[in-house]
């Protein structure tokens, strides 16, 4: 049975996007005659309606697959009809994985849309913003729901593009240089995309299909039969490279902190809850491919752990509120990859979901704070806000508690499951487990440092000029919903020691079964397993660390900046390294960006010197006294072009004259 209404899920936000774009066009036209015209306020409602409808459809589809069917599939559409070997059929597939992801995307997306309707009020580009935001959701849904890698790639590029548009949304504002940040995000993403494309080509040439179902069958056969091991590893690594770009993993994570230049709802939706998880989605989707390669698994886990540590430590010393959250996001994404590299597909998705709740909440809360503080982002200039913004304070604290993994909250369970799995794999993974545990400590510390600096202590701003105020209900209601989810979201994946079913694990079983079978096959029938005692010990250890570090982070900072200043003066070098994210960004500039620019400039000069003579012409103009001599250099451009042509032809001719026959 085909379910063609699945097309509607991405189509609705697309329609919303178009309607908002039309409103924006009207606004532009109107403003030409009346500059004071209020921006198109209908756009918010349109976009929210589109999101709500998409969410409703996702719910309906979800309800359908809870029943006896495992997946819903639309009829396929011949994008590139076959004939010459290249045959691409695109279809929408709602299975247990894409269903769960789509629910998170549309559900959290809906809340963020509602929040944004309040947050962006009065912005000149109000309608444009919602056009972009809806377009982003469309692309994300295409990415998730496509039953085919090409469709996923379309969404993959599409979300990158929307992210670019949204990061640079406030291009005309001072500070942060959004335009540059947007471009950086896109170009870094494109490096990953090139890897994705190559990996996709490789899979296509190996298996002759890009359809997920067929692909997984092919991979399963190859992995069980032990064929094509090298190709599988290479493909897995290339796709992981793509995932690194999109999900901001070391060494491609530097764009994400910069991306905070975009409006806060964007940071919440794209750079915390949805787009950055698409790399994880891809790996789960192709879990047999990764399961088949020990090398790929270890590399995924190691990169994940390294990212978690680097970003987690960098979050310690940030002063920009959104910067803290950005590095925290990178760090949590690292956790998810650590899970994937340990074969804990379910735990990864579990963390994706809980993280979507609490990180979206934190970002939105941060937006509320920044909004109330008149665009102040420096946590050193906040303090004592709990008195001014009680609702934001309570919800934000819930999010921070979940993030830091305080016992029984959502983050606690998902993080614990990841660490338990990593521990269970053993071997080299024990080291990664240690890194993960240490990062958990860091997480708890910086979460509570952030809460303490923002909401406790004295007001460190000028009370006379800055009057912090609570945000309107349209913004705080989504915060409350998300706070509730952050608190209780963990029930979908309670650990085995609680003797209740792991809801998510059972739900996802059909999707990850093949990967687990391959893992089992490779390890000779032994899947990593922990005794209940060990699991209890790990749970206890996790709780203790989270509580202890949270306490430390809170108490050192709740009374002002003394601890901050002390650290800065005592360990200036460490402080510098931490607040600079270990200098990786600068290393990039020194190692990659500058050389590429230099190369381009070199080529320009080279072409100029030989052919275009721009530089030499300029010199000749400037230094007329050199006159004729320099002019002799600058003359005969056509001849130089011809010389290159003739030279090229001569080289080919000589090669062929002397070659064969």
């Amino acid at each position: 049975m085909t379910h063609d209404w699945l097309w509607l899920i991405p189509a609705l936000p697309l329609l919303g996007s178009l309607l908002c774009a039309l409103q924006h066009a009207q606004v532009l036209r109107g403003r030409a005659t009346n500059p004071d015209l209020q921006p198109g306020v209908g756009a918010g409602a349109t976009a929210i309606a589109a999101m709500a409808a998409a969410f409703g459809l996702c719910l309906r589809g979800f309800g359908d697959i809870v029943g006896e069917t495992e997946l819903l599939q639309s009829s396929s559409w011949a994008w590139i009809p076959g004939g010459g070997g290249l045959d691409i059929q695109v279809a929408m597939v709602l299975d247990r994985l894409s269903g769960a992801m789509a629910l998170v995307v549309t559900g959290v997306g809906l809340l963020i849309h509602v929040y944004a309707a309040g947050y962006m009020r009065g912005d000149a580009g109000y309608a444009k913003f919602f056009a972009f935001l809806n377009l982003f959701v469309t692309m994300m849904l295409v990415l998730i729901l496509s039953g085919n890698m090409v469709g996923t790639f379309v969404g993959w590029e599409g979300v990158g593009l929307c992210s670019y548009l949204l990061i640079g949304f406030w291009y005309d504002r001072d500070g942060g240089n959004p335009g540059h940040a947007a471009q950086k995000a896109f170009v870094v993403n494109r490096i990953g995309d090139a890897c994705f494309l190559l990996g996709m080509f490789l899979l296509f040439t190996t298996f002759g299909t890009l359809d997920y179902a067929n692909l997984i069958e092919g991979i399963r056969a190859a992995a069980m039969g032990g064929e094509n091991a090298g190709t599988l590893t290479l493909a897995a690594l290339l796709l992981f490279g793509g995932a690194c770009g999109k999900s901001a993993q070391f060494p491609l994570f530097t764009w994400l902190p910069d991306a905070m230049a975009g409006p806060t709802p964007v940071s919440a939706l794209i750079h915390a809850a949805t787009m950055v998880t698409s790399g994880i989605y891809l790996v789960i989707r192709l879990n047999p491919l990764f399961a088949a390669s020990e090398v790929a698994l270890f590399l995924v886990a190691a990169i994940g752990a390294a990212t978690a540590l680097i970003a987690g430590s960098s979050a310690l010393r940030q002063r920009d509120l959104k910067g803290i959250l950005a590095y925290s996001t990178v760090s949590q994404l690292g956790y998810m990859f650590l899970a994937l590299g340990s074969g804990a597909w379910v735990a990864a998705l579990f963390h994706v979901i809980t993280h979507a709740f609490f990180k979206a909440l934190l970002f939105l809360g941060a937006g509320s704070v920044i909004h109330g503080m008149h665009e102040e982002k420096d946590v050193h200039k906040m303090g004592g806000l709990r008195r001014h913004m009680p609702r934001t304070f309570i919800t934000f604290t819930c999010g921070a508690a979940a993030l830091s993994g305080l016992p029984l909250l959502s983050g606690f369970f998902s993080k614990d499951e990841i660490l338990a799995h990593t521990f269970a794999v053993g071997g080299a993974w024990w080291l990664l487990w240690g890194v993960g545990l240490f990062t958990a400590a860091l997480t708890a510390y910086y979460s509570w440092r952030m809460v303490a600096l923002v909401f406790f202590g004295e007001e460190r701003f000028d009370v006379a000029t800055v009057h912090p105020h609570e945000s309107p209900p349209i913004m705080t209601v989504p915060l409350m919903v998300l706070a509730a989810l952050s608190l209780v979201g963990g029930i979908i994946g309670l650990p085995a020691v609680f003797h209740v079913p792991h809801l998510l694990g059972e739900w996802l079983d059909p999707v990850v079964r093949t990967g687990n079978e391959i893992l089992e096959h490779r390890s000779g029938g032994h899947l990593p397993h922990l005794s209940h005692t060990m699991e209890w010990i790990l749970l206890g250890l996790g709780s203790a660390i989270a509580l202890g570090c949270a306490h430390l982070g809170f108490h050192r900072n709740k009374n002002g900046l003394a601890a901050e200043v002390a650290f800065e003066t005592d360990h200036p070098k460490l402080h510098g390294a931490l607040s600079d994210a270990w200098g990786i960004d600068r290393a990039y500039y020194a190692g990659v960006v500058t050389p590429v620019r230099f190369l381009a400039a070199l080529v320009a000069v080279f072409i100029d010197a030989f052919c275009i003579d721009g530089a030499i012409n300029a010199m000749a103009d400037a230094a007329k006294r050199a006159g004729t001599r320099l002019k002799a250099f600058a003359d005969g451009q056509v001849a130089s072009y011809g010389l290159w042509m003739g030279g090229g032809a001569a080289v080919i001719a000589l090669l062929w004259a002397l070659g064969g026959n």
Binding site: D635, G636, A639, L643, G647, A650, A653, W656, A657, N661
Partner: protein, 187 residues
């Protein structure tokens, strides 16, 4: 006797070709080129292609080269204009460029020569007896027939080409008509 004539014509062709390139005065170049074409016409004649020899003289000599001469005279470039002419040595006014040009010319020429010499062994027929033609060699009838059958498409297209050229040249060379003031002009 005939082959001696060929070598004389070849020598003249090469010398006059060098003259075209080296002469400082464009008029001298034109006259050299004319002589070069003349000696090539002799070679065509020797090879038995009377028709080609005739149009070589008529079209090349009579029309094209006169056109060149006409433009040289029109623009009054006969004398040595210090701005236009290669002041000292036409070849070496700009050493770098000339050296590059000569190098490319030598490379292209030697590539062709290598190809010709290595390829001569592959030629289908024994490679002699081409000049002079054997008795009764007459290319014209076959040439005419092919021109109006197999090659009728390029033949007709050539007439379109001439038409387009006439139009284009007229546009390019006509004295500027007054053009409306720079309303839409880029400054």
């Amino acid at each position: 006797m005939v082959d001696l004539l060929f070598y004389v014509a070849a020598l003249v062709a090469v010398l006059t070709a060098v003259g075209v390139v080296l002469a400082r005065n464009p008029v001298v170049s034109v006259v050299s080129l004319l002589s070069c074409f003349g000696s090539l016409a002799v070679i065509y004649l020797l090879a038995g292609f009377q028709f080609l020899a005739a149009i070589q003289i008529l079209v090349y000599g009579g029309a094209i080269m006169v056109l060149f001469l006409f433009v040289v005279m029109l623009l009054n470039l006969g004398g040595l204009n210090p701005e236009d002419e290669d002041r000292d040595d036409p070849l070496f006014h700009d050493r770098r460029r000339s050296a590059g040009g000569l190098a490319v010319a030598v490379a292209l020429g030697s590539a062709s020569l290598i190809g010709i010499l290595r390829g001569a062994r592959h030629l289908a027929e024994p490679t002699n007896g081409l000049v002079p033609p054997e008795e009764g060699f007459d290319a014209l009838p076959a040439l005419a027939e092919a021109m109006f059958t197999r090659y009728s498409l390029p033949f007709e297209a050539a007439s379109v080409l001439l038409l387009a050229t006439t139009v284009g040249v007229m546009v390019l060379a006509k004295r500027q008509r007054s053009i409306p003031p720079a309303g839409e002009e880029r400054s």
